[in-house]
Symmetry: C2
Subunit: 326 residues, 2 copies
């Protein structure tokens, strides 16, 4: 493998800096899912922690470095999960955290960012507009801008999941990774390709937000004008060139899935695994549902990367309507 | 503390025998629950494993000992979770597992017991009738009967949760434990009272299945004629004397909660923690809801002990009706 921006020794060292509450997350085979999927399925569960997503693995690194440098403030754009995680990590280290998000982000995510003490600024547009605004704030205030997937700490944090996969699962054939900005995919992909090169690294993105997948396929940055998916956590339009370069080195495939498959995946995880997940976390199951032949009889790991959903929207998606809630 | 049947050194040793997939489960503060509860709440999550409850900690011990002794078969009565766990642990060690359960147990639990390869026998009555039938099978076939809460391995397995609590949580004031047969309460209670005696051990049972709580309060076994609760996992009528003796030594209190509080607890765990739990696993939250003053400002740990629910019943309880499910 050619060299990515990541380094396995640095990723191992990162584990020392991340609050253990985010590490060594559950990893288990979920046989109840298997009759419908036709393959062996193991879940790596990143939702049972104070921010309900994997993102704090990266923000722990960022906030720790900032605190060591005597920094006082930090800003990021977020689809919702990075902002929560940075708010959590920053609060514990006395940092003033500003999060810029789309006003269309899930209310649950925005509420939690505020509840964790961050200053939340909403933009009347999507995640990529929030990125621009966060950059402006960083320049104006002279504070650190955290850019998800571009900043190496965000990738290294995510990559610690990869270490846990290769260190604990006896053997698996493929790992399915939600693809948004690319921190999770390049981080986990780097570790898997370095330490278990026979494992297939498959990135999964919604058909309604395909920019990075199109970019990976054409080996150059392809942007889109808009996104149309319930998977808010991965809905970007403007891939970052350096991240694409890494993704080209570590991903064996990038696939696009339909919204109906994402919903079916969420429903299966609820019905058969008892897991509430956000749409991005069901992308892996969706990919299996859309191509059972590809995975038949193989051992597939899917990273359940977040569970921050608006409850009413969730019920609507999985086919249960709220009634009579007090 | 006077001596219970448990021994902390044996409990530490038990960790070596239990598949690590069931150990070191997530333990985290859940701030999103706190505004409604008025106290600091940490969750010990026992649902993210192949059997979705804590019960395999005990069945791993049982099955391991049986396998070491060259045993071929084992039988237990189960409300549903022990049976799944014994089926899982027995399958991995080549044991023939028979589970006796009530035909009124949740379909999801019964289906999983069968799917894990156990022979399932249903009785036309409740858990205590299943206990009698399992004992008859054991005598007739000359095989080991696993009696939940009576058999020390089931308590020692549960007690490993206690070790993880006192070893990982910096400090907490009380632990809320679902009370059924008493394995979880006496196991965790023993460890907490041995290693962190200042922590209040509070057992929680439904008003509709109060036998053990009544027994604890009167310091003698009190049975009931029937049970009436959705918390199927803790619905016993006939407390075991030896378990009551231990409970009298380790429990600071035993409280009874209403069904409406259990449902409110399940809903809160879904809405604010993104967790699907079975009714027994919401007993701790229910106890806080019924007595906020008691817990105000304190740090309370609640063990979320299982997530095996029938999905349709679950939606009915938490206030969302299934529609249009394909």
């Amino acid at each position: 493998m050619q060299e990515t921006r990541l380094d396995t020794a640095r990723i191992r060292a990162a584990r020392q800096v991340i609050d253990p509450i985010f590490l060594d997350t559950p990893m288990y085979r979920c046989e109840a899912l298997e009759p419908d999927l036709g393959c062996t399925v193991s879940i790596k569960l990143e939702t049972a922690n104070p921010v309900r997503s994997f993102k704090a693995r990266g923000t722990e690194l960022v906030a720790s470095l900032l605190a060591d440098n005597g920094s006082r403030a930090v800003v990021c754009a977020s689809a919702g999960n990075l902002g929560q995680a940075l708010a959590w990590s920053g609060r514990g280290r006395g940092l003033d955290v500003t999060v810029v998000a789309s006003r269309f982000a899930p209310v649950a995510k925005l509420d939690r960012i505020r509840a964790l003490g961050a200053r939340l600024e909403l933009v009347d547009g999507d995640f990529d507009l929030a990125r621009e605004r966060a950059a402006t704030i960083a320049r104006h205030d002279g504070i650190r801008l955290v850019e998800d997937s571009l900043d190496i700490e965000t990738c290294e944090g995510a990559a610690t999941i990869g270490l846990e996969l290769v260190d604990t699962v006896p053997s698996f054939d493929a790992v399915l990774i939600a693809l948004g900005g690319g921190a999770l995919a390049t981080g986990v992909g780097h570790v898997v390709k370095s330490l278990a090169p026979g494992v297939e690294v498959i990135c999964v993105q919604p058909l309604g937000a395909p920019a990075m997948t199109h970019s990976w396929r054409r080996r150059r940055v392809v942007t889109t004008d808009s996104t149309d998916t319930i998977a808010d956590g991965v809905a970007g339009r403007c891939p970052i060139p350096a991240v694409l370069d890494d993704l080209l080195l570590v991903a064996d495939d990038a696939v696009l899935v339909r919204e109906t498959s994402i919903i079916a995946g969420m429903r299966m995880l609820l019905d058969h695994a008892g897991l509430v997940v956000e749409p991005s976390a069901a992308l892996g199951i969706a990919a299996i549902l859309e191509d059972r032949d590809r995975f038949a009889g193989r051992h597939v790991v899917t990273i359940v990367c977040g569970s921050n959903v608006d409850v009413d929207a969730y019920h609507r998606w999985v086919g249960a309507a709220p009634i009579h809630r007090s």
